[in-house]
């Protein structure tokens, strides 16, 4: 029965939601610290090292600073939309976490609790829907600022996200053709069998396109034209100050973490332990322990992606706007279409036992 109420279910989902939201916030917090540290070591510097041992409390200090800054709302701006912008950015950044399978399941109080907030059968499309909503946070905020530079930044961000969403979707279609399902949980479970059943082996080109598009969707270097400070001052958050600015910056890091999580689930086996038969291991050490290992491994994989995001940011300069559009429309989309065609052909041959 649809929408029948089970109070225990609501409780367990509520706990899961709180845990996921809190952990993604904490991870985003420490991603800012990691970003500064990674930038520092790549440039032969030391990075933040004053707040606490080797600067471990730096994010707290940053947060405190943002909270104590003066809130400035520009005159002639639409006040409601001005506040709505960063809230939307934050909301959409958090919402992606709902369909990501963080682990298999844990067993408590005689109940199997799946470590996924919602296993809906359109899982990955939900991610796309939420990502396309993320544009509004930027666009509304940039328009409500009543500032030309902000508006330019917002328009750049929006056009870039829309353009790269296409290539991303087509790259994903090839993957979905091999997996035959949209549910992230099932996609992860299909990759559990062998170490070579990870989708990165089946779809290397698809992964590359997806990765590039993920960079563009997160507005990260080399695609951070929306906040190109040498052209647009601060881009869409020029007029923002205090914690509203913090929301935008935070949303970027949460997006990075969650897009890393999506890529882990889609291409890197999710919570799968490579070279180990997970089911046999689960019988040996118990469901709860294996869930712990799975979740830790998932977070480790996602953290590797976070590092990749930072690594690329501190290596590659920004694209020019026409280069960005050329790459998106003239290179990535045809490549993704080709990838889709080849995948379709291979699947057909396979079904036909490799005969024409």
């Amino acid at each position: 029965m649809l929408l029948s109420i089970d109070s225990f279910l609501i409780l367990e989902k509520l706990v899961l939601i709180v845990v996921v939201v809190m952990s993604s916030l904490v991870i985003a917090m420490y991603a800012t610290y990691a970003e500064r540290k990674v930038a520092a070591v790549m440039q032969d510097r030391r990075g933040p090292n004053r707040a606490g041992p080797s600067g471990i409390f730096q994010p707290l200090a940053d947060g405190l600073k943002l909270f104590f800054k003066e809130e400035i709302i520009p005159d002639f701006s639409s006040k409601f939309l001005f506040i709505l912008g960063p809230c939307l950015a934050m909301l959409t950044a958090m919402m992606t976490g709902a369909v990501i399978p963080w682990g298999n399941k844990i067993h408590f109080f005689d109940r199997d609790i799946p470590l996924q907030i919602a296993d809906i059968n359109i899982g990955i499309l939900y991610v796309f829907g939420v990502v396309s909503m993320g544009v509004y946070g930027i666009m509304i905020g940039s328009w409500a600022s009543n500032n030309k530079f902000s508006l330019m930044g917002g328009l750049r961000a929006a056009s870039q996200i829309i353009s790269y969403e296409l290539a991303m979707g087509i790259a994903l279609i090839a993957l979905l053709m091999t997996s035959g399902t949209l549910s992230l949980k099932e996609i992860v479970e299909q990759q559990q069998a062998h170490w070579y059943s990870w989708n990165i082996i089946k779809q290397p080109l698809g992964f590359l396109i997806f990765l590039i598009c993920a960079f563009a969707e997160c507005n990260r270097t080399p695609f951070d034209l929306a906040e190109a400070e040498n052209e647009l001052i601060g881009g869409y958050h020029t007029e923002y100050s205090s914690m509203k600015l913090g929301f935008y910056l935070f949303a970027e890091y949460i997006n990075m973490f969650l897009s890393g999580s999506v890529m882990v689930s889609l291409f890197f086996g999710g919570y799968d332990i490579p070279f180990v038969n997970d089911a046999a291991l689960a019988d040996n050490i118990g469901v709860n322990w294996i869930a712990l290992i799975h979740t830790a491994l998932f977070f480790f994989k996602a953290a590797c992606f976070l590092f990749l995001f930072m690594w690329v940011r501190w290596t590659i300069p920004r694209f020019r706007y026409d280069q960005l559009m050329n790459l998106g429309w003239k290179i990535l989309i045809p490549l993704a279409l080709l990838n889709m065609l080849v995948t379709g052909a291979v699947i057909l041959f396979q079904q036909n036992n490799w005969h024409f």
Partner: protein
């Protein structure tokens, strides 16, 4: 137009090859370079905890010297002020009264001795000009200050601690410089 030298070189502007246009090889190369930098030794020095050693010829803040009995060397002859290219030194002389022999080494002394550290270029010419071994450039530098007048150092700022009453502070202020003399 005729070329002025034969060293001019035309920039090659041929279209990029397919491999170059794919960007990715260049990107991977750049990423390997940044990754390699993660393991390099950091040249940064953790300043307040670790200080860099000064070179032995470093010229820092001035000190006015005393002799072994703690008497001021300076006689306010004005040679340092004359030698100063930045005109940073001003002084007023005074005659030593009876009973002040333990304070000043000779009959004349500097009642007022000021150096404007904003004007001073730390060239060390005052040190060379001094016939009485009275002024030295030490191994510290002027700390930051909020006002200009904080940079005009008077006698109380410049005088070295008394070697008789506080020998450690004297030795510290004199630093390596004193040992060489």
């Amino acid at each position: 137009m005729q070329a002025l030298t034969n060293r001019a070189k035309a920039v090659e502007r041929k279209p990029m090859s397919l491999l170059e246009r794919a960007y990715l090889p260049a990107i991977f190369k750049g990423m390997s370079i940044t990754f390699g930098h993660m393991f390099k030794k950091k040249p940064t020095i953790n300043y307040p905890e670790v200080t860099r050693p000064f070179s032995p010829v470093f010229r820092g803040l001035h000190i006015l010297n005393r002799d072994e009995e703690g008497r001021e060397n300076c006689t306010a002859c004005g040679l340092c002020a004359v030698a100063c290219p930045a005109e940073a030194i001003t002084m007023e002389g005074a005659e030593r009264k009876a009973g002040e022999e333990h304070l000043y080494r000779e009959e004349k002394y500097a009642a007022k001795y000021e150096i404007n550290m904003l004007r001073c270029i730390f060239c060390g010419l005052c040190e060379e000009a001094c016939p009485k071994d009275a002024i030295y450039l030490s191994e510290t530098f002027a700390p930051a200050n909020f006002q200009r007048k904080g940079f005009i150092y008077g006698k109380e700022d410049l005088l070295i601690p008394n070697p008789v009453t506080e020998p450690e502070a004297f030795a510290k202020a004199k630093g390596e410089r004193g040992k060489n003399k």
